[in-house]
């Protein structure tokens, strides 16, 4: 399964991709904002991991756009972000995320959330 990793920080993309490798997901592609991610998304992507705060198009808008397209409406989307106040989380759930990870995270948390979304990939809201 290919995972699309979306983050404007190259450092964070490397860290997420390394964490994915450590839990057995070796096939990845990258995008540095939501607009790039929409272009990079194709039929081979089985999971999207996105940051929230990004230039050009942020993660929240990306989630809304992906949910609005038939080819990505059911794709599991993990939001990985520093934003962790209640209103932000609720907003992300309403936009259609499948799960939410607060930075800084551990590979164990990443694995747990990925397992959860792949087991029952329906969006939370």
């Amino acid at each position: 399964m290919k995972c699309l990793v979306v983050d404007d920080s190259a450092t964070m993309r490397r860290i997420v991709i390394n964490s994915l490798k450590s839990i057995g997901i070796a096939e990845t592609s990258e995008a540095s904002n939501g607009a790039e991610a929409l272009q990079a998304f194709d039929g081979t992507v089985g999971l999207v991991i996105t940051d929230w705060n990004m230039p050009v198009m942020g993660g929240l808008e990306l989630v809304k756009q992906l949910r609005g397209r038939p080819q990505s409406a059911a794709t599991p989307i993990l939001m990985v972000t520093t934003r962790s106040v209640r209103d932000d989380i609720v907003q992300a759930i309403q936009a259609g995320i499948s799960n939410y990870i607060v930075k800084p995270f551990t590979p164990e948390v990443l694995k747990e959330k990925i397992d959860q979304v792949l087991a029952g990939a329906a969006p939370a809201a």
């Binding site: 983050d7 404007d8 920080s9 190259a10 450092t11 964070m12 490397r14 860290i15 390394n18 964490s19 450590s22 929230w52 705060n53 990004m54 230039p55 942020g58 972000t81 520093t82 934003r83 962790s84 106040v85 209640r86 989380i89 609720v90 759930i93 799960n99 939410y100 990870i101 607060v102 930075k103 800084p104 995270f105 551990t106 590979p107 948390v109 329906a122 969006p123 939370a124 809201a125």
Partner: protein
Amino acid sequence: MIERARFTSYLADLEHALRLMQELVSGVRTIEDDPTRLPQVLSVAEALAGQQCGLMALPDALHQAYGAITRALGDVRVSREAICVHAADRLRRTHARLAEVTSATETATNRLLDGLDAALQMVDRLDGATAGGGEANPTVAEVARGLRAQLTGLYDILQFQDITAQQLGAAGDLLEGVEQRLVSVAALLEPNLPAGDEDAEPPGTSVNDGRASTLDAAVRQRLADSLLAAARPAAVHAPGP
């Protein structure tokens, strides 16, 4: 400082004098046709002459006012320079330093990641060599596994760079906002100055999370988990789109 009351009085005197002057001019025009009006015109002229006592002080008062205005403008110029040089410029420099720190930590973090990548590859080779050498050496394999776990853990620690970059970025955005406001204030004091950076991002458009934190991630994760758990049953029972 010249009192406002004195100026008001001078203005009243001036207005009265102008009225008398108009009356005098009209009177002089009528004398030719009606010489009997001469005494009346002379009385207006006398009244006008008497009126001058207040007006005589007006040039001096205006001179004082000019001096006061010049001093005030000087003070304003000093204030503008103080804002531009001592406040806005310092904020700009501080902002630039924050950006420099962020860039330096990003470069350093990427070098560390390069080092970790190389170290992980070496561990992989060590593991491969052990496995390919016929009988596997359990001690080496165990060491390699432990080393890989340690290195992966270091990878995760480097998330601090993204978080602190957002904190510094948010602080920089704040400084930039304050700097723009100070430049706008300075521009009010000196209309020839530009009113600030028109290309600057409006407030609220920053991509930096000022509340980003390296602390209490587990507590914040539990909040996210509980909100997601609360949202899921509702989704199950909710009618489809």
